[in-house]
């Protein structure tokens, strides 16, 4: 017992003050892309050709980037003339509408949360069932980490539960494979309404690297209605936590 107490003292207090404090992100962190089409050379398709998932389209003032498809690999930024396309440090990326993940110039105002009365039910307690439907275990791992002492999402009343019957909603990762779509549908139906659905990661939003494979369904939205989209490959844990806190109304 003394050994455990001593270890506890040595390990120290590790929970981050988020969302109050400044988030600690690595200097090479790739957050929300920043576009400036005015620097585009005419007929230069370098960024489009370099993108593994077809996330980029247009040029000049029509240049746009779909964060729902983006893997944040930054191959486009490397292919582009400096200043046209770069990855910023903004980690808060979640959106209520699929279309709001598409970055344009200028950016239209994002949609407000849908059905505020339903979401208000989850303000102080949100229990989620996680379903991996073809996920590579990176999104899963960075969802899992939110339950550790570092992020401790339990302090916000958010918890992953073992059964859909105990859950207020689903948190879905993966492109939804042919072999998982039925299980996903059944799990969704097993969650008692009113319920919420959160799609985490490029795969669950668009199919990610597997978009248009015959083996996948290009994300969750074709199977179940998605309320919140959290992009990334995988999203940083703080990006996911920020999304969940927006859903519970604890972050703007």
């Amino acid at each position: 017992m003394l050994r455990e107490l001593l270890a506890r003292i040595r390990q120290g207090y590790r929970t981050m003050p988020y969302p109050a404090g400044e988030p600690v992100l690595p200097d090479r962190f790739r957050g929300r892309p920043v576009l400036d089409g005015s620097a585009c050379a005419p007929d230069c398709r370098a960024c489009i050709a370099s993108c593994p998932t077809g996330a980029i389209s247009g040029e000049g003032s029509a240049l746009s980037l779909d964060m729902g498809r983006c893997l944040f690999c930054a191959d486009c930024a490397a292919a582009c003339p400096p200043g046209t396309l770069r990855f910023g440090r903004e980690h808060r990326l979640a959106a209520w509408a699929r279309d709001d993940l598409v970055l344009r110039q200028p950016q239209p105002a994002p949609q407000a949360p849908p059905d505020p009365a339903r979401l208000a039910l989850f303000r102080r307690s949100l229990k989620l069932r996680q379903v991996s439907a073809g996920g590579c275990n990176a999104c899963e791992a960075d969802v899992n980490v939110l339950s550790t002492i570092v992020f401790d999402m339990g302090r916000f009343g958010i918890q992953i539960v073992a059964s859909p019957r105990h859950a207020d909603g689903l948190l879905i990762t993966g492109p939804v494979t042919e072999n998982m779509h039925l299980a996903l549908e059944k799990t969704y139906l097993a969650v008692p309404p009113p319920r919420v659905v959160i799609a985490v990661g490029a795969c669950a939003i668009s199919g990610g690297p597997f978009v248009d494979h015959p083996e996948v369904r290009n994300g969750a939205a074709g199977i179940v209605p998605v309320d919140l989209f959290i992009p990334g490959c995988p999203p940083h844990p703080l990006t996911i936590l920020d999304g969940l806190l927006r859903l519970t109304g604890q972050a703007e």
């Binding site: 050994r3 455990e4 270890a7 040595r10 390990q11 590790r14 690595p26 200097d27 090479r28 962190f29 050709a49 993108c51 593994p52 998932t53 893997l71 944040f72 690999c73 930054a74 069932r129 996680q130 379903v131 991996s132 439907a133 073809g134 996920g135 590579c136 275990n137 990176a138 999104c139 899963e140 791992a141 960075d142 899992n144 980490v145 339950s147 550790t148 002492i149 570092v150 992953i160 073992a162 059964s163 859909p164 993966g174 492109p175 494979t177 042919e178 072999n179 998982m180 299980a183 799990t187 795969c203 990610g208 690297p209 597997f210 494979h213 015959p214 083996e215 996948v216 490959c233 844990p237």
Partner: protein
């Protein structure tokens, strides 16, 4: 073995495809059996299309004693006499061949699909399933123990934790498990098939997301293959950074696993500390490349990022701190009799069983088999620096935990030494076009075990076939065997002690 019919190559050494011996299927079969009898191991065994009607079986055997990989092939049409009855480690490979190419390994004792998709030969199916009927995942014959007091427990695909989907069928007598059958395929995304015709801008992301917790392992295996096929020399500095990233991946996952094992026996201090420490190790990878999983770090021709002096110093300092806390958290496990008692003699796999099944990685080393691609088939930095192999004999959960802890210490030591000796120079060079009609086998010792990629180019220098063998592919059967005669309540603990990949298996 002077009569051996195999082509012998080194890890990451490209050869013209015509040098792969083209044997009769009987000779290939005899050759494999003789080689396995002489200490070789099946690293890969797969089919690829040959013309309109035929399938070419390609065998890659790993011969650790000489550090060489042995290749041979044979043409088959609709069937061939199965290897599995004489060579159990072929079991899963032959099921895969049947499923992908509608080739019958006749006499296979356990011929069932492993991923539940249509065969890649239109209209043909090893099980003669009608093409109008959907193939549903894990709808197949399961082994059943009959008897009045025998009951069956089915678990999954959706599990209680935040983990990937898979289906487990237990045949139980009371609490005791007679047999566990594991059926996967829910995560199948068609990666191997999508690699054909590449490389494309998507090829590297496929490799990085093939098993996301092994991003560095699989990306390194892929890049090694491309570099061999194009004749590219990776700069020394990049080789070293890749090695550091590979060991950081091992540190993060092993630490996370030790925490999870503690959690599964209800010992919360270590579970809680290791949950945090795993993230701290992931953040060291993020220090290198911005991504906690190493996305974008390993690139064909080198690495996408450098580790300049101040960054190396920060990495050293944070590594030392994290390792010290890990030592404190993990040592609690070994000092707690209640934990050790739960680990010991739970889920034991004997050395003989591990060898027969062809287990790799932590699972093999915990059953007394000194298998480690870093030492047996060194490539990259491991040609110059050796990490001692960590072996334990007992084959139980304790062994799989203890080997992880030994490896954490040795990997950390490796990183410390390498960071202090980073050579000057570039971290990336351009990669030329791939040589046409060549083959390469690329092995990397990922944190779970041996990652094996086999790439073959066509006449135009595009990928004609790409085979991936995740260590989990060898090891799932090991988990099934570990459960024999265990309490069913020990399943989570046994499962966690293997911590195998579902998506790495399903591809």
């Amino acid at each position: 073995m002077s009569q051996s019919p195999f082509l012998r190559v080194r890890n990451g050494e490209a050869s013209p495809r015509r040098e792969i011996p083209r044997l009769g299927v009987g000779d290939l079969r005899q050759g494999i059996l003789a080689a396995v009898g002489g200490g070789a191991r099946i690293a890969a065994l797969f089919g690829m299309p040959e013309g309109e009607q035929a399938i070419r079986l390609v065998a890659v055997l790993a011969h650790a004693e000489t550090g060489m990989l042995w290749l041979a092939s044979a043409e088959v049409r609709d069937g061939y006499p199965a290897l599995t009855p004489d060579c159990p480690q072929a079991h899963w490979f032959e099921r895969e061949i049947a499923e992908q190419w509608a080739v019958q390994p006749t006499g296979h004792p356990w011929l069932k699909p492993i991923r539940f998709h249509r065969s890649y030969r239109p209209g043909q199916d090893a099980w003669a399933r009608p093409s109008a009927e959907a193939i549903l995942p894990c709808v197949t014959d399961f082994f059943r123990v009959e008897g009045e007091e025998v009951h069956e427990v089915a678990v999954g695909p959706v599990h209680a934790g935040v983990i990937e989907p898979g289906h487990f069928r237990f045949q139980c007598h009371g609490e005791r498990v007679f047999h566990l059958e594991i059926s996967l395929g829910y995560q199948h995304r068609g990666i191997e098939r999508a690699m054909v015709g590449g490389p494309t801008p998507r090829s590297l992301p496929y490799m990085e997301t093939l098993a996301g917790d092994t991003t560095i392992g699989h990306a390194t295996a892929y890049c090694q293959a491309l570099e061999a096929l194009s004749g590219c020399q990776v700069p020394a500095r990049a080789e070293l950074l890749r090695g550091i990233a590979l060991e950081l991946e091992r540190l993060a996952n092993h630490t996370g696993d030790l925490g999870a094992l503690a959690g599964d026996v209800g010992y919360l201090p270590t579970a809680s500390y290791c949950g945090r420490l795993r993230g701290d190790f992931l953040n060291l990878t993020a220090l290198l490349c911005g991504s906690r999983f190493g996305r974008g770090l390993v690139r064909p021709g080198g690495t996408g990022f450098d580790c300049e002096g101040p960054r190396a110093a920060e990495l050293q300092e944070r590594l030392a701190r994290t390792l010290r806390d890990t030592a404190g958290a993990v040592s609690l496990l070994w000092e707690s009799p209640s934990v050790v008692a739960r680990f010991e003699e739970t889920g034991a796999v004997s050395r003989e069983t591990a060898a027969l099944l062809g287990l790799v990685g932590v699972a093999a080393r915990s059953s007394g088999l000194a298998r480690d691609a870093r030492l047996d088939f060194p490539a990259g930095i491991f040609r110059l620096t050796r990490i001692p192999v960590c072996v334990w004999q007992s084959g139980d959960v304790f062994a799989r935990a203890w080997v992880r802890w030994l490896e954490i210490q040795r990997s950390a030591e490796f990183i410390r030494e390498q960071l202090a000796a980073l050579p000057e120079g570039p971290v990336r060079v351009p990669v030329d076009a791939l040589r046409p009609d060549h083959v390469v086998v690329s092995l990397v010792e990922g944190w779970r075990g041996e990652v094996c990629h086999v790439a073959l180019t066509d006449g135009g220098g595009r990928l004609a076939h790409y085979k991936v063998v995740d260590p989990s592919f060898h090891n799932w059967m090991g988990l099934a065997m570990a459960l024999r005669n265990q309490e069913i309540s020990d399943f989570p603990l046994c499962n966690k002690s293997f911590n195998l990949s579902y998506c790495g298996h399903d591809l």
